[in-house]
Amino acid sequence: MELNQYMGMFLEESREHLQTLNSCLLTLENDPRNLSVLDEIFRSAHTIKGMSATMGFTSIAELTHEMENVLDLLRKEQLAASPAIIDTLFRCLDTLEQAVESVAANTEATVDIKPLVAKLTKLAGDKGQEEALPARKDKKAKAAAKAAEPAATAQAAAGTIALNDTDVKVIKEAARQGYAAYEVQVKLRDGCLLKSARAYMIMNALDELGDVIKSVPSAEDLEKENFDYSFTVVALSDAEPEKIEQALLSISEVEAVTVLPLTSPEVVPPAAAAQAAAAVEEAGQPLAAESAAPVADALAAADKRLRGGQSVRVDIDKLDTLLNLVGELVINKTRLEQIGLSHHLIDLTETIEQMDRVTTDLQAVVMKVRMVPVGQVFNRFPRMVRDLSRDLNKEVNLIIQGEETELDRTVIDEIGDPLVHLLRNAIDHGVESPAERTAKGKNPVGEIRLIARHEGNNVIIMVTDDGAGVNPEIVKAKALEKGLLTQAEADKMDTADAVRLLFLPGFSTAQVVTDVSGRGVGMDAVKTKIESLGGMVDVETKVNGGATFKIRLPLTLAIIQALLVKVCEEIYAVPLGSIDSTINITPGDIKTIQNQEVILLRGQIIPIVRLGDFLGVPQAAQESQEELYVVIVHMGEQKAGVIVDTLIGQQEIVIKSLGKLLASIKVLAGATILGDGKVALILDVGSLMH
């Protein structure tokens, strides 16, 4: 099916529009009279409706259609944006999201939209009933003005298009901003299949060049393929007519395009438009005044689109491939270097040095291309914070800063869950109830800040609340009670360390286990996840002064520095980030505590692991060596000494996945390819700790 090629575009755009809807709806909730936000909501909903109808996802289309009805009433201020309505709309978005994801997962869409549709119909009906007639006409006129849904003055697409008063106003307004109005007549090739998809592409192309304000037949009829092979569109654009013509002719199966400038917008509406004109009159004066603003908005948006057209959307798989290829290049470069060195070829070595610079730059560029702004993760939090604070009867203001900070895509994909956890904790445990806050002399509205910024080769993400903070004494007492530490340890512990007990497995200070947090897996899970990303998490807090959780993440994960070590004939890579130091010891330095071999290093007892035994390396040489090489590794606070046969050296390695089949092997974090083309495995340092 040819529609499949639009699937990716459909999914991507639907998700984007849903995100827009979510954030606009949040704005609307805080500022129910903000009509320009409503317009944006309407536009996004309408686009989703159009796309899903074209793609044949009727339940999505139906739900958005019902949403539009309610939105329209809101827009006309016949209905107030009450919390109940906003909630219902939010629920619609959740359902739409599910529906879109089920389309993405290729499961037959079984999302039940009936209850929501009924609810929406009721909301629309409550208000719409008594004014059903004017409301409908009003809608038509309004829609024409907003270009979202051209007036249903369906007329045979012959001759000049019928323009009503509102259209004329829009065109005049546009002219003042330097946009000319064109009548674009498009003829599709006879026998063109998928007429609606073509029409959609044409509308898209026109949207990119400016704005479509009207079409005959209507957009809805175009979607439903209720037209022959030609249709007419009125568009605003600052592009040359020839350019428009060319852009449209480049779409396949378009046979002919005529672009006629509409120089005199005072075209008298022919009889067919009378109905719409009458509707305009009925709608009354406010409409006329209002129409200017949205048009200006739309034009501004169009303008932005024109200027912002300098980026390219690329499938992430292609970027992964590119990164792989660059990795290959790095490997081959290393191989050449070795050849140059072992054969003492000075010319070759010099050339390779230059190549080295180029590959390093190339690598940096590819890395940069893979970077995505953290905003992609952050933008779903306002909604979550809203829902949650409402459930908990708290008032929270979420402030997001630095959403443009960029991180590698692999990190972005993983960072969402830990942040959700931290935010939930901040709302549940951090921010107090409004009454409590007032009693403490704080602003009853709590404040949570989510901040991202660069710091050297790291990205810092902070979650800060101005709530009750963490009381180190309570944390200590709790840890004692759970047997996580001894009284002696607790006495010695300073405040900062005491607070860090939060990160211990099985720790939870919530008095009551709530839905939100307090299952005792929280902070431990956060810490594990962050560390698996090669990052660190720490906490700073003051009683009643709030708490700050600080996450430090490396910019990228795909290429790391590693120490190569050898055990018998096998070579393993240990990520440099988790290495403390390397030391030499004699066999006599090894002591045992309850059969566990340990060494003493600067007064600290460190358990040791013989890598050969641990990995079952065949014939691990047990011949008594005079000197043993020990790599001291750490994971969080835990340390271990790893005994290896030889240290080969430090090297930049490209991390490769071991694939699905071997993914369950815990001791390995992946594989890499060495200069000689052999595969070396990367140790998962965390697994050595147990």
């Binding site: 792989n324 990995l615 071991l658 694939g659 089949l661 092997i665 001791v667 595969v679 495995l681």
Partner: protein, 156 residues
């Protein structure tokens, strides 16, 4: 998976290879390439039939010791030993075989369902037995062999 499990109503092209003295076949559509034996890196804590991983032009691929998987007696590698790279349900793996002999075409009429023949190979790894002249070809079910089917690989 149609090409490996159903041989109905059409001629099937097979890559024929040897394990010990027996002839085996896999659907040609699943075979990506055939490589000489190369450096294989042992993977600790993996199932015993996984020989290790190789570097195939920059990708790290697991390699299965097919004889071990099928419980056949082991043999040393020779000049004829090959790694057949196959793709099964999005997973690409290498299979070590004693030698690749030919590509042949079998009509469905000459293929018997697996349960009619008793063989050294345990039934779940078979998808049928083909007859060609006086030779018997054991047709393998790669999905179960690789472990993406019923019994998936578990780390030990």
């Amino acid at each position: 998976m149609a090409e490996s499990t159903t041989y109905a109503d059409m001629d099937t092209q097979l890559v024929v290879f040897k394990l010990g003295r027996e002839d085996y076949g896999v659907g040609i559509l699943q075979v990506q390439e055939i490589k000489r034996i190369m450096d294989i890196t042992r993977v600790p804590n993996s199932p015993d039939y996984i020989k290790g991983v190789i570097n195939l032009r920059g990708s790290v691929l697991p390699v299965l010791d097919l004889k071990k998987r099928l419980a056949l007696p082991p043999a040393d590698y020779t000049d004829d030993t090959r790694i057949i790279i196959v793709k099964v349900e999005e997973i690409t793996v290498g299979l070590i075989v004693d030698g690749v002999s030919e590509v042949t075409t079998l009509s469905s009429a000459n293929i018997e369902p697996p349960n009619t023949v008793a063989s050294g190979v345990s039934g779940q790894y078979l998808s049928g037995v083909g007859k060609q002249d006086d030779k018997l070809l054991i047709l393998l079910n790669l999905a179960t062999i690789v472990g993406v089917g019923a019994d998936s690989v578990k780390a030990v």
